[in-house]
């Protein structure tokens, strides 16, 4: 009986250690875990919260996507209801500060995909990769929301890039 318990703790320790190593590494890539808050037949919301290199990232994406899994139980807060009435998409907060000026207008069927980080001596770069889903070859694309964040957690640069395939680490490294 002792062996399974011991193995369980080894397993948990392994996971925690891997996460810790990730945060210490100069490069992080991870899948964004999400579920879809369905508003009506035409509209849903993804709410994502991540932390990379001690930067809190919150993204709310409005989407028309219907193929991703719905949240089992999600209360629609007043904050989310107010977001539905804004034309901006997505809404992004980094370290509790709203980031303005990155608006995706020609892609409405967005799905959160991955988040990437690169740590450099004086700043970090964070990339949030959204996937534009389409039923045909028109509009399948990756929308990359990129941020340069200084050591104090202030966003000092931002860019939005579209690409047909996921952009490489090398290109990501040279975004700013």
């Amino acid at each position: 009986m002792k062996t399974p318990i011991f193995l369980f703790f080894i397993f948990i320790f392994g996971i925690l250690n891997a996460q810790n190593k990730n945060q210490k590494s100069d490069y992080i890539q991870k899948n964004i875990e999400f579920c879809r808050i369905s508003i009506n037949d035409s509209l849903s919301i993804f709410k994502i919260q991540e932390n990379l290199y001690n930067n809190d990232i919150e993204i709310i994406v409005k989407t028309e996507n219907v193929i991703t899994k719905k949240c089992s139980a999600e209360i629609l807060s007043n904050e989310l209801i107010s977001i539905l009435n804004t034309s901006n998409n997505p809404l992004i907060k980094i370290n509790n500060k709203s980031i303005e000026g990155l608006n995706v207008t020609d892609f409405t069927n967005l799905i959160p995909n991955k988040i990437y980080g690169i740590r450099k001596p004086k700043y970090s770069i964070i990339k949030i990769e959204l996937y534009s889903f389409s039923y045909s070859t028109v509009g399948n694309a990756y929308i990359n929301l990129c941020f340069k964040i200084d050591k104090k957690g202030k966003v000092v640069g931002k860019k939005m890039l579209e690409s047909k395939s996921s952009i490489t680490r090398d290109r990501f490294n040279k975004i700013f």
Binding site: I67, D106, F107, T108, N109, Y135, S136, V138, N140, S163
Partner: protein, 238 residues
């Protein structure tokens, strides 16, 4: 829009030649909507004749699946044109033809179909005659006529797309989500899709492959909703 099964030359009462169109009938579709379908078939085919023949049927099947569902917005005023625009990533003609996205300035094949230059005003009639001189454009017109007749239940023939509701290129091969959504049958694992590995079994996948074609410009896979998809959604996840 009207179609005919050929042209013939006759003499008028002055003895001059006149061209008459034989067996004219209404296709019950607006000219622009018809040419949007044919234009999409030509422009998104990878220049494969098989894909050109499939796409008009896929659009009709996609539309039928939407309007047969229980989703309110597809019940009353949802038009065939709305389905075309939906399948074109909700892009209007100008955006599809001209706007810069993911490294390309609009769709040059669509501009060729219309015979317009970059940023020239959209005119579906401009290339009406010219399209007859291009085999692939002419095929897209021919199969759009068949697909509209199929949709109107006036054409007793096969659904050329075998129930297809969408199509994709090889770029989905590197997308982990698509490997969960789409089940590719063994027979269809070829050309650019030969190394595809399904992440789910068919019973847990949203879409399944119908056919694969290689064109001058890449491989295209045609797919349809699975039985699993219809269990979860009356649109089949469309």
């Amino acid at each position: 829009m009207y179609v005919c099964n050929g042209k013939s030359t006759q003499k008028d009462k002055n003895g001059d030649n006149i061209v008459t169109f034989n067996a004219i009938e209404s296709l019950k579709i607006k000219n622009n909507v018809f040419l949007r379908i044919a234009g999409l078939a030509y422009s998104e085919s990878g220049f494969s004749l098989d894909v050109i023949k499939n796409i008009p049927y896929i659009i009709m099947n996609h539309h039928k699946q939407l309007i047969s569902s229980k989703v309110t917005k597809y019940k009353d005023n949802w038009s065939l044109n709305s389905t075309i625009i939906k399948m074109r990533n909700k892009w209007n003609d100008e955006t599809y033809a001209h706007t810069f996205h993911y490294g390309a300035q609009g769709n040059p094949a669509f501009r060729d179909f219309l015979n317009i230059d970059l940023n020239e005003t959209i005119d579906f009639d401009k290339n009406a005659e010219g399209r007859n001189n291009n085999v692939k454009m002419k095929t897209s017109i021919e199969y759009t006529i068949k697909a509209v007749q199929y949709f109107n239940n006036e054409y007793i023939d096969q659904d050329y797309s075998e129930g297809g509701i969408g199509w994709q290129g090889a770029d989905i091969c590197t997308n982990e989500n698509w490997k969960k959504w789409l089940f590719i049958h063994t027979d269809h694992k070829k050309n650019a899709f030969k190394n595809w590995s399904n992440s789910n079994i068919l019973k847990e996948s949203i879409f399944e492959s119908v056919s694969v074609f290689k064109g001058d410009f890449g491989t295209t896979i045609i797919y349809k909703s699975t039985a699993f998809s219809f269990k979860n959604s009356t649109t089949g996840n469309l």
